[in-house]
Symmetry: C2
Subunit: 507 residues, 2 copies
């Protein structure tokens, strides 16, 4: 029998080991950020080595048996602590991570890591040369290894489930397929109705907007929306991202195009949404794996909520548009709010996921999700992937890629991550964003009016109290249940789409 | 008996362990750099924790006994390999570092690290409040611990030697005192002769020089002098520094004052000199402790050589001054090269070391060196330090600090490092810079002419072949002997001062 003191000592030892590992992850994040922002070109080789060393040390510390033993010793303590307590949650999450690490052989991890680097390089060349065949053999090996990964989880109901679990714990291929089918059935007719109308004029967005002035305006938006610049910053990168070094240092990046106002503005708000989540964790979770976001889907729900439900809403621009006009008087002085609002919400049948509007975006994602499953299930070969991709684009979006580069090669995910579990989070996030926002407005019906006056704190504080604060204590399903009182559904997003686009396009 | 294969295997194991430790140091350097350049204010607490974790892991890996055992097993291999081979040098240096780590108890390191943080904070307050008394008790403890550190080296001839050895291995208090006495005896009359003349007009340097334009010009100088911007970059910080993440990522920082052209220009060239050293190491040394610079003094010899012997020389500005005039036409268009050259070489009796000209700079340094020794020897108490400081400024430089802040509190070194070994490297560096430069010009008499045409490669390549390439294979004494054929002396610097300032001031 352990005394209470011994138990507390073991729990404290667990926390201290986990904190050391979190410090290593934090250092890794700094090195990654530097690599993407300021690192001189030739620094890349040593940087790869340094990152690999940090990662290996963290992995060794996590898997050397000490943590597993402590978890064993803390079984009773976990059982006797409330489910939502910091203590039980930390033990539960660490046990889950530990089980996962114990199932995947180190030898596999090493081999897979090498393949990922190799496949990424082949992809970069193939994309540049616009020739899928150059990466096909490597991607075939990537598929083999993605299937091999699944084999370490013989209890999985579907071959994709181990991959989905990695980013969206608790979700499954079957349940997501069902939800996505429902969503697609609803969205496709909306897209058809919209795109049968003449396209909205969005030329106001495609004038010359100097980079420095765009960045200054984004900075201004960040400040007014409450992103604390003493706990974060924004830099430029090729691809925008959010990264966290600690609860008090959560950074975002953006990119701006001088002939397109959309990219900088909305990637800024999107990444800020991710940052709000991490900045809003309870400080007690700092230095433990409980700090962070529940899942890929729940994290995305926050970036998309702020980007789309707020950043692409009329109340938001009722407040910000006069500032934007004042900032770009020659470009927007004569453009009405309605014209601008329609332009930023223009719906298009397009080829590129990352440029898509908020409705068709989900069609792009669901194509990828289905193709991933087909590949893993063996219904589709890598060789036939480009043709399958193009077929689905034609049937779902009414467009055909003109080349591999704007088709099957456009996203890096499969080529550097794995095949499986890579895309569902984006659309799960969109679904949840609408569901969470409905719950927020039900609790605080004044939210839209507040947004219109530039007050974002009512919404932010509600999200913080209901989602951000809890870090990774709960699963995605538990989070949805706790926050909205129901399970994941398509209705909130569908209703939102009908409401907003019905009015915009007079459907 | 070990087989050759076993020996090679052990050597390779040693290299692999050391490479892992170097990766951790490289990561630490990135985190430090970020802290000084871009980190948001509130990131500081977690950053301190992350740095401490990385440092502790590196220390544990270095001292867990594995490396010590390998060194034992490699004794014969070291003896049988040529002294200047990579193999013997690596074993020799690692053994030296290992001996050092084994002499200083971990308990002391932890205690000292806490005191350093505490003393730094007390210093920051004391400096802001301009009141030495606020840091005096903490500095007394710093002196106690600096003496305690020396006690771990009972074989040392002088109490300061263990400290001096830390930064300038192979040098001793006695030998440095002797050289410094010689130098002081020569410099003091020069300074007296110069400062008895009316001061040179340097008002051309103190016009308004916009920050962005200064930074652009510094960038231009870096490029033309051969600093490879694919292997480094320059950012702004409060205090300029050079830092190395790997042989292909060696960065510098600078600060510029809009009413002073000196600071930005010469700190840029100074830090670039440090960077040249690290960038010029043989690639084979990468990932081992042999990468880097021999000692504090030899490193400083390179920053000072480029900053002073080149950057403050007439040939340098014969090449660059027309560019500078074109860059700042309204400020310098009507200022002659001679006026500018005299202004940047103006000698002053001043209070602040970092603002001092290249002659009096050494007087500042030697005051600090002597006071350190007096404190360690027990001839001077911390309480009496400010008065002793002021007395020496009056006797050596003819000026008296008007406050603690521009007196004894001006340098952070004693308050965050230790008392002892902190300053001698600056003047050792000046001495060596002249000695090395003489050797370079003896080998390549065309160097000054080449500088005048903007060609820096002859000098750079000679320094690389003779100094940079070898990293930390040799001691400072060995380096001087190998490069110049003689021991450290004062004559080259004295001759340089007489030659240059004799002409400038018609002495």
């Amino acid at each position: 029998m352990q005394t209470l003191e011994q138990t507390h000592q073991k729990f404290s030892q667990l926390k201290s080991l986990l904190s050391e590992i979190e410090d290593l992850y934090g250092a890794e994040a700094v090195l990654h950020w530097d690599q993407k922002t300021y690192m001189p070109a030739k620094g890349i080789e040593a940087r790869g080595r340094q990152l690999a060393t940090l990662n290996r040390i963290a992995y060794e510390k996590f898997t050397d048996g000490t943590i597993a033993q402590l978890l064993d010793d803390l079984t009773t303590y976990e059982r006797d602590s409330p489910y939502d307590s910091d203590e039980a949650s930390l033990i539960r999450l660490t046990r889950r991570n530990c089980d996962l690490a114990s199932k995947v052989p180190t030898e596999f991890e090493v081999r897979f890591s090498l393949l990922r680097t190799e496949c990424y390089q082949a992809w970069a060349t193939a994309r540049q040369e616009n020739n899928f065949a150059l990466v096909q053999p490597t991607l075939e090996r990537m598929l083999d290894m993605s299937r091999e990964y699944s084999s370490f989880f013989p209890e999985a109901q579907h071959i994709a489930d181990p991959h989905i679990t990695g980013s969206d714990y608790g979700m499954s291929a079957v349940s997501i397929r069902e939800v996505f089918a429902e969503l697609r059935a609803q969205l496709v007719p909306v897209v058809e109705a919209i795109t049968s109308q003449p396209p909205v004029d969005n030329s106001c967005l495609h004038q010359h907007y100097p980079e420095a002035e765009q960045l200054a305006f984004c900075h201004n938006i960040l400040k007014q929306m409450g992103y604390d610049l003493e706990r974060g910053r924004q830099d430029k990168t090729l691809h925008p991202f959010m990264t966290k070094f600690s609860i008090d240092d959560v950074r975002i990046t953006t990119r701006v195009y001088e002939n397109d106002l959309i990219q900088g503005l909305f990637s800024t708000i999107h990444e800020m949404g991710h940052a709000f989540y991490e900045l809003g964790n309870a400080p007690e979770l700092e230095g433990t794996p409980l700090a962070g976001g529940v899942s890929s889907g729940v994290h995305e729900s926050q970036s998309r909520l702020w980007e789309n439900l707020i950043g692409r809403s009329r109340p938001f621009w009722q407040y910000f548009y006069p500032q934007l006009q004042a900032h770009f008087p020659s470009q927007l002085g004569a453009v009405s709010l309605e014209t601008f609002y329609s332009a930023i919400n223009r719906v298009d049948r397009s080829l590129i996921r990352t440029d898509a509007d908020e409705i068709t975006y989900n069609l792009h994602v669901m194509i990828r999700f289905d193709l991933e499953l087909d590949l893993l299930e063996g219904k589709l070969t890598v060789k036939d992937l480009p043709a399958a991709w193009n077929d689905r684009y034609l049937s779902d979006l009414g467009v055909i890629p003109t080349s591999d580069s704007n088709g099957v090669l456009q996203d890096v995910h499969w080529y550097t991550g794995q095949i499986g579990g890579m895309f569902q989070g984006y659309t799960l996030g969109n679904l949840m964003s609408a569901q969470f926002f409905d719950a927020a407005v039900a609790a605080h019906p004044e939210i839209p009016d507040r947004i219109e006056t530039g007050n974002f704190t009512v919404l932010h504080d509600w999200l913080q109290a209901n989602i951000y604060l809890h870090g990774r204590k709960f699963t995605a399903a538990e989070t949805i249940e706790r926050v909205t009182g129901s399970t994941l559904g398509t209705k909130p997003l569908i209703d939102y789409v009908h409401r907003k686009y019905g009015s915009l396009y007079k459907l």
